[in-house]
Amino acid sequence: MENRKLIKIATAGSVDDGKSTLIGRLLYDTGSLTTDKLEAIEKTSRQRGFDYLDFSLATDGLVAEREQGITIDVAHIYFNTDKTNFIVADTPGHVEYTRNMVTGASTSQVAIILIDARKGVIEQTYRHFFISNLLRLSHVVVAINKMDLVGYDEDVFLKIKADFDALVEKSNFQTEQITFIPISALKGENIAKKSAEMPWYVGNTLLDHLEVLEPEDLQEQAYARFPVQYVIRPKTDAFHDFRGFSGKLYGGNLQVGDQVTILPSFTESKIKSIQLFDQELEVAVPGASVTITLEDEVDISRGDMIVKSSELPSSEKSITATICQVNHKPLKIGQKYTLQHGVNRVLAKVESIQSKIQTDFSGEESTEALKLNDIGKVSFKLSKAIHFDPYQVNRSNGSFILIDEGTHDTVSVGFIEARD
């Protein structure tokens, strides 16, 4: 893995705007599509009577998907260039779009929103951008596809860009977080090589653009949060008194010697060591899975959180959050769920549903229940306090899932709002 940076991307687009073709093209142009897979695609494309390579065959993995020619579920696609590892969450365009895009985007830093140059900004585009905004993705690439079908006309590109800019004004996005690229996924224009057909476009190709993004720039500047996942007690002769607290760090750095507070007990101690396997580290960086030991004997178990004493999160037994419903069972007032916040679980009761939010930026309306794919603002009462930051400050410490007590299914995802 030789220090290659990792960029995670979610794709969004409606049916037939060429999403699978784009991904197939990215795989093809980076040499990630092996000969045998390419041969299989050629063979099946021929069988179906296509006169082009149907790259969607590279990503639609299930029998039912190939039967129907649609994408049912999120697939993860990988490709590497010399400098960068990419993970693409390929989310279906139409079936249960909101939940699927939220799922795919939750693990991504960048969204590619595809627009069919012939159709321009449509209702789906609103929804995709709304979700990118809700999830606070760091960067959006608007790929205006099928430029070959509009004669590579700059005016078409500029018109769509202007329409999209109007959308950006309604959101929290800064214009520098958004990049517009005119492409033809089918013909490979502006994907890995600059298009001779569009000399008026002076920016980077899609691949060049994705390569210049830096993971650090895509990361939030947040306080360090270390939720304790697992307590390590070897009880062997060599490590008889060892008590380590394992977890993954979110937000900022933690260093040996840092003064820390353990939540919920609010006990204080100092970081004695940070370890990964047999290595002793000086600093743990965001995203690192490490084991921490403390100077003092402190009672700590799974679900507790270690933070710097100077940077405490909110500890509350009631929260308000934006919810996206990802299950067929609706969320209703009075209902109880298990709320999983990071690795911590508490019981939660729906106190009130304040509104259902329209994903086309047209406003909010009141509702009794949130159905599958609905997004709304909900207040909860919790059995125990959780230690959170607002989602806009720390994505990992500001999000949670709701688990149905009966079926054990994950039914909702929540983004915690700042206290008023």
């Binding site: 040499g31 697992y230 394992s246 999000s399 054990h408």
Partner: protein
């Protein structure tokens, strides 16, 4: 003292392994002796160090494994002080639960599923950790990190739990189990580069060596009493290595001179053939993997 060390994919895998240990009562790591499960063992060592890995290994032995792999397995277990459970496909055959395939493409690969499901029931495993990766095969690209199976071991590909951020929901009913894939997001090259960086031991069959083989359908088959061969199929000695290690009856070799980790990594980097291109079992039909997965295969 090193200052900073950070590998995002390794970090994610360690996080997943710790969730397994915390959320389940009887997890097990499915170990085949192949590079992916060997990588899992290293990741588990890292996740729980300086404590021991808090779950046993389970090997479903087809009886048709490469002897080098079995030898490697036993040495690894001994060196790390791990608990190893072995269950044999031969026993399932003797009990009449499965029937040995016959003829040109006979393989015990599919038969493993029955032995595996029986072992899960016998030991009441609630989480089975496996080394499958999403880049291997298109049905696997759809797989969750925590993938719930019903008490028949079945995978319902149309009704999977969404996985949001890195929160993993391992809540299940009695009788269900979860298949866990900590290296879902790794590619074959990631695994090889990791083995090289970490200097992890792997079975010798991954390196180029002389072996008795024969050619059929454009693939290189191991010549051995377990592999069906027609009289006219001529055995030759060739310099080969394996990219994937499964049952001898379903794993084809590749011609190679790569006999060190450096040359192996370089070969993978240059290769235009996918890893599973040498898996004979996947060539049975376009949906071969998905069909096996649905009934409980890994």
């Amino acid at each position: 003292m090193s200052n900073i060390y950070f590998n995002p994919k390794e970090s994610e895998s360690i996080h997943i392994l710790r969730e397994v240990a915390a959320q389940f009562e009887r997890p097990v790591l499915l170990f085949s002796g192949g590079k992916d499960s060997i990588t899992l063992v290293r990741l588990a060592q890292k996740a729980f160090y300086p404590a021991r890995i808090p779950f046993p290994l389970l090997h479903i032995d087809t009886g048709h494994n490469f002897p080098e792999t079995i030898q490697f397995r036993d040495e690894l277990v001994k060196e790390l002080g791990l608990e190893l459970i072995v269950r044999n496909v031969q026993d399932s055959i003797d009990q009449g639960k499965v029937r040995e395939e016959k003829g040109r493409y006979a393989s015990r690969n599919t038969l493993q599923t029955t032995t595996l499901l029986d072992a899960i029931e016998e030991f009441k495993f609630d989480a089975c950790i496996g080394g499958a990766r999403r880049d291997e095969e298109k049905a696997r690209a759809k797989e969750r990190v925590f993938s719930v199976r019903d008490d028949f071991g079945q995978w319902d590909e149309k009704n999977q739990r969404p996985e949001l951020f890195d929160m993993l929901n391992g809540r299940i009913d009695q009788g269900q189990n979860v298949r866990v894939f900590p290296i879902s997001n790794w590619t074959e090259l990631d695994v090889w580069e990791y083995i090289k960086t970490e200097n992890i031991n792997i079975p010798s069959i991954y390196f180029a060596h002389k072996r008795e083989v024969f050619f059929r359908d454009g693939l290189i088959w191991t010549a051995n009493e377990h592999v069906y061969r027609e009289p006219h199929e001529e055995v030759k000695e060739k310099m080969v290595r394996f990219r994937t290690v499964g049952d001898m009856t379903c794993t084809a070799a590749v011609l190679s001179e790569a006999d060190t980790l450096d040359t192996v990594v370089e070969e993978i980097r240059q290769s235009t053939l996918s890893e599973r291109g040498a898996r004979i079992d996947d060539k049975r039909s376009e949906a071969a993997m998905e069909k096996r997965k649905k009934v409980g295969y890994f």
